[in-house]
Amino acid sequence: MSCGNPQTEQDALMIRRKKFDQARTCVKCKTNSGSIVVRYAVYCKECFFPLVASKFRRSLEPTINPITDGPRRRGLKASGNLLLGLSGGLGSTVLLDLVNRTYFKEPSTENGIEKPRGGKDHPRNGSVWAKTAVCYVETCSAFSGVRDKTEEIRAVVDKYDRFDFIPLRIEDAFDNAWWENIGGPPTQQEFGVDVTNEDLFLSTFATGETDSPVSCLKNYIASLPTQTAVPSAVQTLTRLLLLHTAMMTASSHLLLGTSLTSLSISLISSISQGGGFVVREEAQEEWTPRMSVDSNTTERKAGTVRTVRPLRDIGMKECGIWAWWNGLHIVGRERFPGGRQSIGALTKDFIIGLERDYPSTVSTIARTCAKLAPKEGADSICLICERPAQYGIQDWKARISIRSFEDLSSASYRPSHFPERIIKTSPTTPNPPRSPSLTPLLCYACHTTLTSRSIRGTTTNSSMIRRQSVPLPVWVNSRFDIDEKSNGEIWARTQMKGDQMKASIAEFLLNG
């Protein structure tokens, strides 16, 4: 006897059954002959479009007004502008189309894309959000043999003639000019991190020593210990570039084209890479910029950016059919070269195969993850991904990991109950003065991305010298400062004591 969802139960038993229930007639209008099967239900072409559009609105609209799930009968009004992340992939291309049709299109132009009367700045064409921009992050510099698709993406955005286009490049994450352009505090000193040691000690680069943003990026990528870490790192950099762009454009919402299928892939892949603590953030999250924006550049002071994935109940199949029947051009998004054996790529193959053979299981994954809540509260914000982090991950790792002799010796000169935080060199240390460690300021997943080696051994393509001084993204760099009075020791900037940094770290910084 079971009280669960019979469809899900059936999948759970892994009994392969017919792809659709009952007859070939549409379950909605019960008149037309069916054209598509969506999780065992048959829909005709006419009923398919409103089905997808209503799933999209049902996911997005409760998040538009500043108070989520509040009454919306008075209408939808966001507190800021809208930023759409467009990768050129299927999901984000469909998202752009749905946003345009739902919130910008005049009723008379139901079919085909037509230009709005009055142009993109006409007040009629932006009642929910005052302004809408589309941001694309070109990642080709992170990989060899990948073509630059910026112009193809620009052509997609230009067709709508009402969205501002903001093209970025993944190396902007290492570019001080970009950082200052979006209103970031000028970087006085750049830091490198030693990824050969789990403590991730920081060192300073001498002035003029740092390379171009592209070579910093390549150095960062080359320093990563596994194939799995590369797409994860690129994803995190992309996410932070989008979030900072949302801040810069005074956007209250960042919309991403993550479908139900991709959400399940990223949830499983994130959990298997140590991201279980932020499993809810994978579905929806709020991010508050640490810096305040210069009020000259935007009318709205930097507020919270809400990341929403309005396609999270719509599978890849529905997206693919939507794009085909609406004649959308998919620029495409390449698989990361050489990443076929990464956890992300393997998870993708697994989930997509599962979705074909047992269509309900994939939505079960997303629903189950939505119910997960971490047992312990977040007590800090990770410096690299700016997501909630748990304090003390390094202690925990030390307890569960099999360490090499080298690791043991480096950990041995501090008592295990005294976790090293960002700390001034202890006077009792017998060794030469040690630099501060980045590890206590990172979440488990980012620490794993930078340090966790695969069974097959460490990378051999990067020299040890490079690995001992790997550049950091600009938003991490700007968190540290040099204390001139105490022989150039590195200190976390006072900014880090912001609201988000909870007692443990903030207290330490105050007391030194």
Partner: protein
């Protein structure tokens, strides 16, 4: 030997595997080997006499093999897997989801339009 004419289209970037050509018109035999072999069987030799070839009416499974053998330009593993299309590739037969038409077992008719759409290009 009678043939059937078909129109094939690609969506979602799948055309990249097929010389970047979005649509093809092609003819295939109406009756094909059950093992989906798309090239003629080699002539019989004295020590290897011709086995009688089992046949079936041309279906979508045969079409997929034909496309792999004659149209696909690169990376067949991105198109075909276990004698069918790889998971994540959608098929429409005359604008209807092939899951409603018996998938690979659908028997092709002259003038059928078959669309292959990739959903593998992520979000």
């Amino acid at each position: 030997m009678s043939t059937i004419s078909l129109k094939i289209e690609f969506g979602g970037g799948l055309e990249l595997l097929f010389a970047n050509q979005r649509s093809y018109s092609l003819s295939i035999p109406a009756i094909v080997p059950t093992n989906n072999r798309t090239t003629p069987t080699p002539p019989p030799t004295p020590d290897q006499p011709q086995e009688p070839v089992e046949t079936k009416p041309a279906d979508v499974t045969y079409l997929i093999h034909h496309m792999r053998d004659h149209l696909l330009k690169e990376r067949e593993e991105l198109f075909i897997e276990d004698d069918t299309v790889r998971p994540g590739i959608l098929v429409l037969i005359n604008d209807v989801d092939w899951e409603l038409e018996g998938e690979g077992e659908y028997v092709l008719k002259d003038g059928d339009e078959v669309v292959f759409i990739s959903t593998l290009h992520g979000g």
